[in-house]
């Protein structure tokens, strides 16, 4: 390898592939992970306070649907080593505390999805726009 540098450059991976091995992660990976984390965070909150189930279950389900759809669009399974768990509901047993944490997470998520929509190729823009809009409505529904 050391001696045949020029030959390797022609016959090795460089001719057809970019340098980076393994392939670069899909730019939607962070958003897919965020959707999964938001779903888990809502499920953890409603486990901590079952009286919130009516409000939080549809939102948790929506985040899971987003994660599934993003995974389908990415076309690859989630990278191994991705933490499946949610940020723990941080011991805020008060419903107001739980809701405030969820609102903060939805606000951040809404901004991230809007940025992803702005940067996306045409074929992904509609899905990402729906996800950004959905997260905005979650924030409204949590008020």
């Amino acid at each position: 390898m050391v001696a045949g540098g020029a030959t390797v450059a022609l016959t090795g991976c460089d001719l057809f592939d970019d340098d980076d091995e393994p392939p670069a992660p899909d730019p939607l990976e962070p958003l897919a992970a965020e959707s999964a984390a938001l779903a888990a965070q809502h499920r953890a909150a409603l486990a901590a306070d079952p009286s919130l189930a009516d409000r939080l279950t549809p939102i948790a389900d929506a985040h899971q649907a987003h994660a599934d759809e993003l995974r389908r669009v990415i076309g690859r399974p989630a990278p191994s080593g991705t933490p499946a768990g949610a940020p723990p509901a941080s011991g805020a047993a008060e419903p107001d505390g739980l809701l405030a944490e969820l609102q903060a997470a939805e606000q951040t998520g809404r901004e991230n999805a809007a940025k992803a929509c702005a940067a996306a190729p045409a074929e992904r823009a509609a899905l990402l726009g729906s996800i950004a809009a959905a997260r905005a409505t979650h924030l409204e529904a949590l008020k």
């Binding site: 009516d54 409000r55 549809p58 939102i59 389900d61 929506a62 649907a65 987003h66 759809e69 809007a114 929509c117 702005a118 045409a122 074929e123 823009a125 509609a126 899905l127 990402l128 726009g129 729906s130 996800i131 950004a132 809009a133 959905a134 905005a136 409505t137 979650h138 409204e140 529904a141």
Partner: protein, 149 residues
Amino acid sequence: MIPRTAPTGPAEALAAALTAEYAAIWAYGPIGVRLTDAARTAARAAEAAHRARRDALILQLSSGGGQVPADRAGYALPYPVNDRASALKLAIEIEERTAGFWRAALPHTTGADRNRALAALTDCALRATRWRRTARVTPLTVPFPGRPT
């Protein structure tokens, strides 16, 4: 409820969004007269927001030299709007419908135009959620606002 045919370019997508805004503005007439108090105020605010989107679209389309579709003289209501319940039902549906047109514009736009389309989609989705709350419809949200069902 959602665009019948997919737009083929940015001008077509924005012209389609404009026709949806015309219809929304019109619909808030019969909606508003069946509502009272805070709900009527919300209907007026929603109508004003749709007028602002309409005006911005007309400006954008005409300055781009494209065709600016004209408003219609009137529209057929999908069902009688003769009480508060039917007015709220139509308000939810008109916001969902308009969201669909703005969502359809996203793939055909870039940069500031796409951000404006996303802002409009989000505003429609938020108003639909607030109208569901007013109408006590649950859940308050849908998983993919604006997506054809």
